[in-house]
Symmetry: C2
Subunit: 335 residues, 2 copies
Amino acid sequence: MAFRGDRPRIGQVAQLAGVSATTVSHALNGRRPVSAETRRRIMDAIAELGYRPNVVARGLRAGRSLTIGLVIPDITNPFYPVLARGVQDVLGPAGYDEIITNTNGVRDLERAALDKMISRQVDGVAFAVFHTHADDLQPVIDAQIPVVRLGGRAAQTGVDLVHSDDEGGAREAVRHLIHNGYRRIAFICGPAAEGPAAERVAGYRAALAEAGIGPQQNMVVHTDFSRAGGAHGVEKLIRQRKRPDAVLCANDMMAIGALDAARERGLRVPDDLAVMGFDDIEAATLVTPQLTTIANPAREIGMACARLLLDRINGVAGPPKEIVIPTRLVRRQSA
Amino acid sequence: MAFRGDRPRIGQVAQLAGVSATTVSHALNGRRPVSAETRRRIMDAIAELGYRPNVVARGLRAGRSLTIGLVIPDITNPFYPVLARGVQDVLGPAGYDEIITNTNGVRDLERAALDKMISRQVDGVAFAVFHTHADDLQPVIDAQIPVVRLGGRAAQTGVDLVHSDDEGGAREAVRHLIHNGYRRIAFICGPAAEGPAAERVAGYRAALAEAGIGPQQNMVVHTDFSRAGGAHGVEKLIRQRKRPDAVLCANDMMAIGALDAARERGLRVPDDLAVMGFDDIEAATLVTPQLTTIANPAREIGMACARLLLDRINGVAGPPKEIVIPTRLVRRQSA
DNA sequence: GTGAAAGCGCTAACAG
DNA sequence: CTGTTAGCGCTTTCAC
């Protein structure tokens, strides 16, 4: 069978340069000295033929594919492109490419994605899911492929973990509100406090406690992790006898919804109601008033993850690590 | 050398099932009939061993990698994740994965990305760049790898092209403004009318002409393709003696900047100044007033591209195609 | 500093 | 319907 494009192979380069394929290989990979003169002839031959090493063949032989798998819920969620960029900007220069798979947060798809990564013989996997199914990672671990989990609590499986300081960030948010004189501070959460949201609630509670503000009635409402959810949360809160004077939302989209509801109800932000978000997605600067929020450094998370993966791939051992990326308060107009 | 994880190979499956590796291969790929009984034994063996075919080996042998390359400026630009999703949603079920490379619009990186795709023996390439360098694609074409260009004008190289109807969209936008009574309609463009922007300007001019509105003085301003650029464009326009009553911007971020400037200057939108964008990024619904814009269907573009690629890979020949994806007017509040 | 030969895991002739 | 054999393009012993 005629193979695609009939590209030059290493043997042709060797022939043209008057050396063996072995020497060409070593000239290219630097695993063994090659004389300057030989190297020059090889490079000339490569240029003349337009030779490009076949990464697939190399991968098969070497047991490495120079590929890492990134398993995420949805690249369309603005957090992940930034994270992916961070990963790539570290891994790219090291010669790795990424295969990105979207799971929509569906467990079966997550499992299938991991299976695929094993089949593809990836050299590492970055796995970002809310619902942590530790055992779903087992096949990857068995295949001895380094895995880094993104987000979530410390893993039981002993895999590396990179996540932002959700609890600390929420604490800082609430401190900021308290500092600005707000006292009845609500938290608008998703249906359940799952994933990062759980830690954000924890930070919220901790900050209230440390300020001597006891838990207040009905100040944590559960809705959806969406714009409509945020709006709905505010609706719910202001129907109560004791209204909040500030709301912290589990993410920015919810906070934007909160802003919608406030405007709808004629509430001035931040005078009648302060609103804070979490994540600092680009949209936070698009709304009016601009959103005060906690930056969730997606890019740094991606980069830290990539570095960890590189270390593992290169056999820099050590016990499983947990890397916590600090968040950062971003003051704008809404609180 | 001990290979990673010592995963079961096809031979082990064959042995356990009491058949040859060939038969296992065929049972898996369905290229040749396998008796029901044999197939059952093979499947049992696969399940027992947890066997997963090695895609890299398969790729080397078959000359296909089941991978396609997506070369884009920046996954962080909100247009591309949606496009990538569209590509994946078509290609994924067909067994393909994507490698995404960001070029930042830098020509050397574009070339390097294409080289890499050839090295990786991808089965197809989707190439999205503003600055069309037809000859940069030549190595890929020589390697007989199907390429689909995304965006830009009809290619001279004879490669497939998928793009949205930028000219028609702009025409529709201007018609909408005219229909709503606006007559002094400006266009805020980037530094040069490059890429899609060129066609958007053309559509703008065409619509004015067809409405019998001759070209007006200083109604096309050049700034940056950014939020600040849009704001700057409005500033420039309203300093003129004859102000526009509407502006069409080359993209949504610019339109959002235009909204900023209007607010700053106390101009009511759309009463004093109508504002329209282009692309319908998510942010368009985030601003106040919400942006009336032209939806640039990234997802459809990605899906059409993927289908075209599949056709080419499967040898469904035919001459190079140009697929134009229609845009759609999205009426909201700003015009 | 260089080569010959073996083989990564799989699929596709060819042969029955 | 099934098996044997060769080989995809490369890297890596082992030998010189």
